[in-house]
Amino acid sequence: MSQDFVLETQSLTKEFKGFTAVDDVNLQVQRGHIHALIGPNGAGKTTCFNLLTKFLTPTRGTILFNGKDITHSSPTDIAKMGMVRSFQISAVFPHLTVMDNVRIALQRKLGTSFHFWKSDKSLDVLNDRAMELLEEVDLGKWADTITVEMPYGRKRALELATTLALEPELMLLDEPTQGMGHEDVERVMHLIKKVSAGRTILMVEHNLHVVSSLSDRITVLQRGAVLTEGPYEEVSQNPDVREAYMGSEAA
């Protein structure tokens, strides 16, 4: 049955000097699911996320991607395997055009990325695919804009398009709607739903509205450890979660 899990962790632990940020976490992300990782501030969500994407090295425990041990792989390697992350602050290349942002993700497949003697016109073969991706996130009109000039919500959409360009099996989204206005949240939610077809998504998210309407399964973290796991209805009824996460709201 373990084949059904795209991503699995076994007693994943990260200690910073005298402080355990992630404590014995066993996480299983099922293929095709949108899996949310939630928890109050300081629960270790982002640390957990950085461990999974190899931006941090775990103190103990193993991480399996498609059953393969990736605990000691580099961030570059796992990206090549098909596990691509986003960042809390929008991760775009601000002074390049929107089109170039997506092309940079696409060009790795060409295998010419070290060719400093070749003209960048050789990258024009990617334009159609880049445009398709931009259309998919409603950014077709913005293709020639310098990214930094776009509103925040659009940048997140661009980030999504860039991530999609790699055709990842598993996308890890770090607070995709953080710092957004209501309208943008709706747009991004819609986009995530749209691109989740045929993919697995693991996301860290604060906005419970987003979590409840998108996720198939939720893991709640508290003080670095898993508090509970299950579908939203189940998790939201759990008295521990109500106390830990929603605090006084539960009273």
Binding site: T53, F55, P75, T76, A79, K80, V84, R85, S86, F87, A91, V92, F93, P94, H95, L96, D100, R103, I104, A105, Q107, R108, L110, T112, S113, F114, H115, F116, W117, K118, S119, D120, S122, L123, D144, T162, L166
Partner: protein, 323 residues
């Protein structure tokens, strides 16, 4: 569809405009020695190439190297040595000097690229100081005296470079080649990734790019071209000295690049021309001992008011008013 065609025609326009500009500059470069003293022009070209090489690292790779003097000096010393001792023709001498600098760049890069920002700058500085003291001691550099009387020789064993005019055109050709290589590197698939790394390194990593390797390649190209500048300079002045290896030189190239406009293709050329001109003309007048003070003042003014350098400010102005 209409916007697409509009865009592409606008693009063609800017491309043809650029072509015109390059053609005009090429022409100016060819006729310049008729009006201006060729040795001075050659000095400008050598430093311009040096600054362009440096700019590839800082402006496009986002890495501030504080050790580029080592590459300039290595090129100069090696070329001087092989031309004097082995009697090779100048183009072979320059080639060997350039390759040695590139090799040194590989070693520097391997050690420094693991770190970023100020740490990267400090490691490159430390390594270049190491090289400086090596050159003070090493027998083949002539120590404090340097290598003097390096023969300019005969290009391909045929054309004598002893006169300044043929030498100028040889230097100009080298500059154009070096500049073209940098231009191409910036506008290549590799250059795209380099810019992406400068813009957002973690994101480049998460897209599956091994950023250290890209930085290393850029560093080797930059070091090689700095060496090319040093090699050429040693033939122009028939001299290789410790001045080139001193950390002052690493600072000077930073000044030239920032003054001209970091991250712009012509910025370093303009910056180098400005600095060399000031040094040359001021050092003959009554202000001779004030040259470092004046350069320092200009630098402070530039950093405070013209943050994007001479060319950067002109580009901004043009963008605001003409497009």
């Amino acid at each position: 569809m209409t916007t697409q065609t509009l865009d592409s025609s606008a693009m063609d326009k800017s491309v043809s405009k650029n072509r015109m500009l390059y053609a005009v500059l090429l022409f100016l470069g060819l006729v310049a020695p008729l009006a201006i003293y060729p040795v001075f022009l050659m000095k400008v070209l050598c430093f311009a190439l040096f600054a362009c090489a440096f700019n590839l690292m800082l402006g496009y790779g986002g890495l501030l190297s504080f050790g580029h003097a080592a590459f300039l000096a290595t090129g100069g010393y090696i070329t001087g040595h092989v031309v004097m001792q082995w009697g090779v023709t100048p183009e072979i001498g320059i080639l060997i000097g350039t390759l040695c600098s590139a090799a040194m760049g590989f070693v520097f890069g391997k050690l420094a690229i693991r770190r970023q920002g100020i740490y990267f700058a400090m490691i490159t500085l430390a390594l270049s100081q190491l090289v400086f003291f090596l050159y003070v001691q090493a027998p083949f550099t002539g120590g404090e005296n340097g290598l003097q009387g390096i023969p300019r020789g005969e290009l391909f064993g045929v054309i004598s470079l002893a006169d300044n005019m043929p030498m100028y055109y040889f230097v100009f050709a080298i500059f154009v080649l070096g500049f073209a290589l940098i231009h191409r590197t910036i506008h290549s698939p590799f250059g795209q990734i380099l810019k992406a790394i400068r813009e957002n390194e973690p994101r480049a990593v998460s897209l599956g790019y091994d950023v250290d390797k890209y930085k290393l390649v850029a560093f080797v190209i930059s070091a090689g071209l700095a060496g090319l500048a040093g090699s050429t300079k040693s033939l122009v002045f028939q001299l290789s000295s410790l001045t080139d290896a001193h950390w002052h030189m690493s600072g000077e190239v930073i000044l030239m690049t920032l003054l001209g406009g970091v991250g712009t293709i012509f910025g370093p050329v303009v910056g180098a021309a400005t600095v060399v001109t000031l040094q040359n003309y001021l050092s003959q007048g009554p202000l001779a001992s004030w040259v470092p003070v004046i350069l320092g003042l200009i630098f402070v003014i530039c950093v405070l008011i013209f943050r994007s350098g001479i060319v950067g400010e002109i580009q901004k102005f043009a963008k605001k008013n003409f497009s």
